[in-house]
């Protein structure tokens, strides 16, 4: 366990940035999102949750896969180079880190997504414990411990000091790089902080949310055919806010961009809430917003767990709770089914 005074944070960041690309929560006109660090950005480690989850450090909102050039009848394809530089994401929360585990089960199973894999291999996660969890948090429901986030290095911000604990080999390596700024310390203060975080988590309004009836053992067709969906979806605007701020949503679209001298095929996040998501030449198999709304939550709470040994595709970060323009969210879904006897 090491520590560093908060005053030296920017020295720490510039040292990290010497050998790695560095992403930190940055405030731009009031909105905090992960962005590349440089001396001029306004780092904000106090805001609990960034608007967008840090998943786009690993699975960018849009990325070019390859480019094609046509020469007469001939075509040539040039794959985009894979990420090859180490990068550090500083300040991911426990839920965000767990979100990557959810994505791993999609992108790292055969056939492996090499773009994602390259980023996972080069990415070093410095996770930050949540000293002040907020009302929309319910990560404990999914067995996530906000006081002890996973990652390569765990960091605690306590008072004027930042405590640094390398967990993995990657973390040790990063620690070596910045050791000149770190001082040895014991774990007493961190243990105290952990206990305090746990005490707050128990008082969170959603901490007692029950997942009974969902997950691996859910009766899929009962849930699917439930009349409750018809009641729940109505205010839904069919926007993509919930999917784009979500750390676990992984649906994407593959599209072409014609630059005038070639075609870049790129992929970008897509949302199952959009009406054209399943549209194809002969029609659409999900024509109503109710069906699309149902798909999103069924996928997170039933389909995904059934395919992945019971692991939910929700980490309880509460971003959808905070950001939905009409106040809908996954918690309301879970509660509505609980009220309706889980049918």
């Amino acid at each position: 366990m090491y520590k560093i005074n908060k005053e030296n944070l920017s020295a720490l960041f510039s040292l990290i940035a010497e050998a790695n690309e560095l992403y930190v929560p940055v405030s731009i006109n009031g909105a905090v999102n992960f962005a590349a660090w440089d001396e001029d950005v306004q780092v904000d480690l106090d805001t609990l949750k960034t608007v967008k989850s840090p998943k786009d450090a690993f699975f960018p909102q849009s990325e070019t896969l390859y480019s094609c050039k046509r020469n007469g009848k001939k075509l040539s394809i040039t794959p985009e180079e894979l990420s090859s530089k180490d990068f550090v994401v500083f300040g991911m929360k426990a839920c965000d880190v767990k979100g990557l585990a959810v994505l791993d089960k999609v992108f790292l199973v055969d056939p492996v997504d090499s773009y994602y894999k390259a980023r996972r291999e080069h990415g070093i996660i410095v996770s930050l414990a949540c000293s002040q969890p907020e009302e929309a948090c319910f990560c404990n429901v999914f067995g996530i411990d906000a006081s002890s986030p996973e990652g390569d290095v765990q960091v605690y911000m306590i008072g004027d000091e930042l405590f640094w604990n390398a967990v993995t080999q990657k973390g040790e390596k990063l620690t070596e790089q910045v050791k000149s700024l770190l001082a040895d310390t014991d774990e007493a203060k961190v243990e105290e902080e952990k206990a305090s975080i746990k005490a707050i988590v128990e008082r969170l309004p959603y901490s007692n949310l029950s997942l009974d009836g969902w997950g691996e053992d859910a009766v899929l067709l009962d849930k699917f055919n439930s009349p409750i969906w018809e009641e729940l979806y109505k205010p839904c605007l069919a926007c993509g806010t919930c999917t784009f701020v979500c750390p676990t949503c992984q649906c994407y679209d593959i599209k072409d961009y014609n630059t005038g001298n070639g075609v870049q095929r790129y992929r970008c996040w897509d949302s199952c809430m959009y009406s054209d998501f399943t549209m194809m030449a002969h029609g659409n198999n999900r024509t109503s917003q109710m069906q699309r709304y149902r798909q999103r939550f069924m996928h997170k709470l039933v389909y995904y767990p059934q395919n992945n040994d019971g692991m939910y595709s929700c980490v309880g970060c509460g971003r959808c709770v905070d950001k939905c323009p009409t106040g809908l969210n996954i918690v309301k879904v879970i509660k509505a089914f609980e009220k309706g006897g889980n049918k």
Binding site: V51, L237, T241, V245, S275
Partner: protein
Amino acid sequence: MQRLIDRAKELLADGTVVRVLGWKKGDLGFNPEPAYFETAEALDSDFIYDGFCGANLSKYMIEASKKDGKTLVFLKPCDTYSFNQLIKEHRVDREKAYIIGVGCKGKLDIEKIKAMGVKGILSVEGASMDSECETLTVKTLYGDKEVSYNEAMLERCHVCKGKEHQIADEVMLESRDTKDAERFAEVEKIEAMSPLEKFEFFKKELSKCIRCNACRNVCPACSCRKCVFDSTKFDEATKANVDSFEEKMFHIIRAFHVAGRCTDCGECSRVCPQGIPLHLFNRKFIKDIDTFYGEFQAGEDTETKGPLTNFTFDDVEPSIVTERG
């Protein structure tokens, strides 16, 4: 609020309406959702109308107009402009709506309260329609805080268009004057910047855009059955924030498509998850329309032609813009 519930129950009971479109209590006390109510019981247990009911229900009336029977809808003064505009565009059916104009004391923005550094909000007191609307008591996981009601208001309430309902079958509850800023002040501030400053300002704001389409989908003026940005034939990059161009394109065109029809209801800025001041686009068009073609407020009535579907022989030439400055 009880008066609204009682009146809604009466209208349901006597068969004037078959459903009520209002706001339903959220689970956190400050996240109500728009909802339909069909029974007196549902109204009793779930209906709410307080400072957090910012959602403009006019847009939901497009769907409600397709249903059988009349819908009772609660509209705040600013929402009634949107409803009028929708009538003008034949998107809602006046005959299918029973409108209760509800008073408004300024709507609150939970994001603004959070931006004041208030964390872990459990409930907010002082937001009800009976309260004085001066201070809010915010109960949080980390102790109680007091914040000023006015400072927690949505931007649009600071430039409120007035307490009058433009269309209503009856009006209930008192409104409060909340206007304390000039509507075009921010636009003028930007206009005074140098081109490079303007560019940097918008680039910074739009770099936050995640293309979630919330601004479009919530907008009562964006009522096209199929949006040009959803067309598969139109272009290649409708969802990606690949480059700063796409966001500019989207926001300019979106604002342009509602120019002359935008009532300045402020829903776009309210729902933006990244807090982009989208009203700045719409208000620029409104200001230009007012300057070049005479003052025009969309949604004041259901008849007059919009400024972009109209012209006069001696309109100003575009050179007034392109040769400016």
